[in-house]
């Protein structure tokens, strides 16, 4: 499977799983869990797509890890700030940023490790 597509699928699945953990980790948000899962899926999809595209030609797993983390942080930090301000609850920083970063790493690593590498132009 090519890397952008694999990134999208992984992002969707991990995003869905990550979003649904809110049911346990933030019981006060249970009424909104569907919206959270939807948002998390969308974020996962975008992170997966951007990461998969950015690492489509690399042969380096480390690069995959780093790119995945950076892309995930780029999407997660603004969301974490918005949520923390909206709910006036600083723990949302960690609850959103940390899982986001690790899933980003996972997406970056897995797309390079298991996705098909795109051939450089002209090859």
């Amino acid at each position: 499977m090519n890397r952008p597509l694999l990134g999208v699928l992984l992002g969707l699945v991990l995003g869905a799983l990550d979003g649904s953990t809110a049911w346990f980790t933030a019981p006060e948000l249970r009424p909104e869990v569907l919206g959270i899962v939807f948002g998390s899926c969308t974020k996962g999809l975008l992170v997966g797509l951007v990461t998969g595209f950015a690492v489509r030609k690399t042969g380096s797993l480390l690069r995959g890890l780093v790119v995945g983390t950076i892309v995930a942080l780029a999407f997660t930090i603004p969301i974490a700030i918005m949520n923390a301000n909206y709910y006036d609850n600083a723990t949302y920083y960690w609850k959103i940023i940390l899982p986001g970063a690790i899933t980003g790493m996972l997406v970056g690593y897995a797309t390079v490790r298991y996705g098909r590498r795109a051939q450089p132009r002209g090859a």
């Binding site: 953990t21 346990f24 980790t25 797993l61 723990t91 960690w94 609850k95 940390l98 899982p99 690790i102 899933t103 790493m105 996972l106 690593y109 897995a110 490790r113």
Partner: protein
């Protein structure tokens, strides 16, 4: 003092034995080595302004069979155009009747010496894979090497692997004129036990004479004097011996099983082709199941964990982090 005189003697011998190639295209320099039927010299091709290696029959009075072998080797080199086989450039005859041919000069070292500086097993196996590719190519062209051993494999400065010394190769479908099939002395069927090539004296080079091949490296069926009937599996045996030497004394079980299958005594117990052997090495390298080894459920689990180690660690990190956030997140 002694050393100096030895050197001087060697130099003198070089100069007196230096062949005179007809014309002035090639300038012969020092001797690179001597094999069973020929001596190899470094030379300069003045026309193309490059260094080449020139192999010249050692003895002017060599038998027709030796002439035939050198000629056949030249023809085989010409036929096998592959990055893993030295290309031949020219062929001719000296005034005294000796045959010679010019080929690419290989600036490398023999495999056994090359791997001294390659300690990582995967890197060694990748070198071996290149060797398998070349041998498979030759087999597809109908040529069986029959004398695979580390000394006949050169590794270049860029990691290029070259299979040398096609002097005893067999071309499938072509009769081998004048090659005797006399069985060797007692014990020769045991290839690892140092089968004799020439009247019982085990040497490390391919002697022209009775059994074709090198004791310790050739397949048992070849050591038993059936060199004419061998098929590609004889080379699979040679590859197996080389692999054995490359992997050290305590290889992982799956790799040991690959070695054992490649160097099995009976041809029918070996891999059928060099590419089947290569495919198993590839599987070993990528952490998938190899055909030579039946693993138990636990071994399989261990291999899968090893193969997907990083992904599993990341997932675990995620679960641990989530659990910690769950337990202490609101404090």
């Amino acid at each position: 003092m002694n050393r100096l005189s030895d050197e001087a003697l060697a130099h003198l011998r070089d100069v007196t034995e230096r062949p005179e190639l007809p014309g002035d295209r090639y300038e012969i320099h020092e001797r690179l080595g001597r094999g069973g039927m020929g001596t190899v010299w470094r030379a300069t091709d003045r026309e193309l302004a490059r260094d080449v290696a020139v192999k010249v029959m050692t003895l002017p009075a060599a038998s027709d069979r030796e002439r035939g072998r050198l000629q056949r080797e030249a023809h085989i080199l010409a036929r096998l155009e592959h990055p893993g086989i030295v290309p031949i450039h020219d062929i001719g005859q000296l005034a005294d009747g000796r045959l010679w041919y010019a080929m690419k000069l290989v600036r490398g070292v023999a495999l056994d010496r090359a791997v001294e500086s390659v300690s990582a097993l995967p890197a060694r196996l990748r070198l071996f894979l290149r060797l398998c590719e070349t041998v498979e190519f030759a087999h597809v062209q109908g040529v069986i090497h029959r004398d695979l051993k580390p000394a006949n494999v050169m590794v270049g400065p860029f990691g290029e692997v070259l299979v040398m010394d096609w002097g005893v190769a067999k071309v499938l479908g072509e009769p081998e004129e004048g090659e005797p099939a006399a069985p060797p002395s007692a014990g020769a069927a045991d290839a690892s036990g140092g089968a004799a090539t020439d009247g019982g004296a085990a040497t490390d080079s391919t002697s022209p004479g009775t059994v074709l091949g090198t004791p310790g490296w050739m397949a048992p069926e070849q050591a038993a004097g059936r060199a004419h009937t061998v098929d590609p599996r004889a080379d699979v045996f040679g590859l197996g011996r080389i692999l054995h030497a490359l992997v050290g004394s305590e290889p992982p079980r799956r790799l040991a099983a690959i070695v054992a299958r490649a160097e099995a005594s009976r041809p029918e117990d070996r891999y059928g082709t060099a590419s089947e052997l290569a495919a198993d090495i590839d599987r070993f390298l990528s952490g998938t199941a190899v055909s030579a080894y039946r693993e138990g459920a636990l071994e399989k689990l261990g291999r899968l964990v090893e193969r997907h180690r990083v992904a599993i660690l990341l997932l675990l990190a995620y679960v641990v982090m989530r659990s910690l956030l769950f337990l202490w997140g609101d404090r």
